[in-house]
Amino acid sequence: MPFKQLLAGFALTLALTAHADVTLLNVSYDPTREFYQDFNAAFARHWQATAGEAVKVNQSHGGSGKQARAVIDGLEADVVTLALAYDIDAIASASQQLPADWQTRLPDNSTPYTSTIVFLVRKGNPLAIKDWDDLVRKDVSVVSPNPKTSGGARWNYLAAWAYARETTGSEDGAKAFVANLFRNVAVLDTGARGATTTFVERGIGDVLIAWENEAYLATAGKAGAEFEIVTPSISILAEPPVAVVSKVAAKHGTGQAAQAYLEYLYSEEGQTLAAEHFFRPRDATVAAKFAGRFTDTRLVTVDEAFGGWAKAQAEHFADGALFDQIFAPQ
């Protein structure tokens, strides 16, 4: 290999250290890539104007559970913006990098934007998929990420469960329904983005169970005309929370900027950007502005339908719990 090239690589690496007064690392989950790209630029302008500091926010994306694991293992995130509260709870309990009551530190359960679970189907909806019932039909092939590894998939699973419990009237009925649904899953990807790629790019499956924002993103691209979004009659209010990893931020001396960064998610600009990237904003005025964008449907919360994430996790997703029983070797 040319030595000059190698030397050049070295020299460039030394020169790599970019100039910024504050550098934050935001460890996030898959579908927020495009949103945070825009939001980071907006926050940098805001912070320069208000605090007079140049801030650079680095991003790391991956499956929510995997990202939590990386933070536990020492990935020095100043803030985490993950798919579900349980993953941040895991960081708090396994590594004590942030206080156990982290979710009370910011408004709305520390969830500045929400989403829900919808179906993405192929153009013209050839199989006439309207609701969860259609997903257990024998002729329908479903794509979903794996609830064991993907935060989004746990929302998928719980949304289906909530629907089935309501229509069958019992937990047993729900269990049988969800078991049938997962029997229809053709590909069980590890992450939400992987599942979308399987459905959109590789053309596998008739319906993708996905985050609403992920589904909109897929239909926004140039391949978008080939897909349609179907909103089921009942779905779940998905609350992807955010938190400052206080110990890391204290070590980096970035606590103030990190807090301001997350608070700015609740500002009008932050909420507007979230809505533009198909997350449902919390702010009423911004929500009213984007009212036409999101289909109204009944949304249940994890707290009211499943008694909170800790309980849902233990009953459904822990080793040997309901999901394992349902998805036993077939």
Partner: protein, 286 residues
């Protein structure tokens, strides 16, 4: 069935052509087509978009990191490879077989495991994690971890190339040099090195190719911070996952270029070695 050739060496023409056809079709379908596809996808948005994807700061950072990792891993494994091959080929000692087996270890374990061992060692919950954190030393989710993982997976390439060559040559020439009064270093530079030159170069080329292309092990210890801990292969995956196919394939074509350079170098080295040393059969690793 009509024309059965009497010779036992040559197969009937239809069999020969079928075999050649199958081999050729296989190579085209599994190698040539995908490579052509990478290029055509990379250029799907035009040349400007192609260069744009390569000039983008995150891609540049990934390129720098990949070059840095290779620039450390290859020399490190060069030194190690020569030492290991030397001791295995020229000395008799207890545990030689064990050392040979250990050198092959990175080939035997999945790259994911290669990454995980470093997480278990240097992660915050790992053996050395708390101590490292207390002294503010970052290994995993930073450049050192990526270099370590790269060194680990490329560990056998050079040693594995040298061992058969050195074993075949034996110790006669070195012994002769010693009786003529040459010191250890002199013997190595004047006698051993010229003998193993081509095998060494061949090992370096393969080692470098793998160092730049490694995905699995590096993915585990990277932390995937854009512009900081993403190598070229990881960057390709990220771009693809962002529906940015043109950029993903543009960066991928950079890696492909590296593969082609490697192949050309490899062929050239094989030719040179063949002419100079008189057909030493090179053991191809993988």
């Amino acid at each position: 069935m009509k024309h059965r050739l009497p010779s036992t060496v040559s197969e009937p023409a239809p069999v020969r052509w079928t075999l050649i056809g199958i081999a050729l079709a296989f190579v085209i379908i599994t190698l040539v087509l995908p490579l052509a596809l990478v290029l055509s996808q990379a250029l799907a948005g035009g040349v400007r978009e192609f260069w744009g994807a390569l000039a983008e700061p995150d891609a540049q950072a990934a390129l720098r990191l990949t070059l840095t990792a290779a620039a450390i891993a290859v020399p490190a494994n060069l030194v190690f490879g020569v030492c290991a091959a030397w001791s295995i080929a020229k000395f008799e000692f207890k545990g030689k077989q064990l050392l040979l087996t250990l050198i092959d270890l990175p080939f035997a374990v999945s790259p994911v495991i290669s990454g995980l061992i470093y997480v278990l060692l240097f992660g915050l919950q790992g053996w050395f994690g708390p101590w490292l954190a207390a002294h503010d030393i970052k290994i995993i989710f930073a450049v050192p971890g990526i270099v370590l993982a790269t060194v680990f997976v490329t560990f056998p390439f050079i040693a594995r190339e040298l061992i058969p060559v050195m074993q075949e040559q034996g110790t006669d020439e070195e012994e002769a040099a010693a009786t003529l009064g040459a010191g250890g270093w002199q013997t190595f530079v004047r006698v051993t090195l010229p003998n193993i030159k081509w095998a060494l170069l061949y090992g370096v080329v393969l080692c470098n190719a793998r160092a730049m292309g490694e995905f699995g092990a590096v993915s585990v210890v990277s932390g995937h911070i854009r512009g900081m801990t993403n190598t070229l292969p990881l960057h390709v995956e990220i771009l693809y996952n962002e529906y940015n196919a043109v950029a993903a394939f543009s960066v991928a074509s950079l890696l492909m270029l590296l593969a082609i350079v490697t192949l050309v170098l490899k062929t050239w080295i094989e030719g040179r070695a063949h002419r100079q040393v008189g057909a030493p059969v090179m053991e191809t690793v993988r």
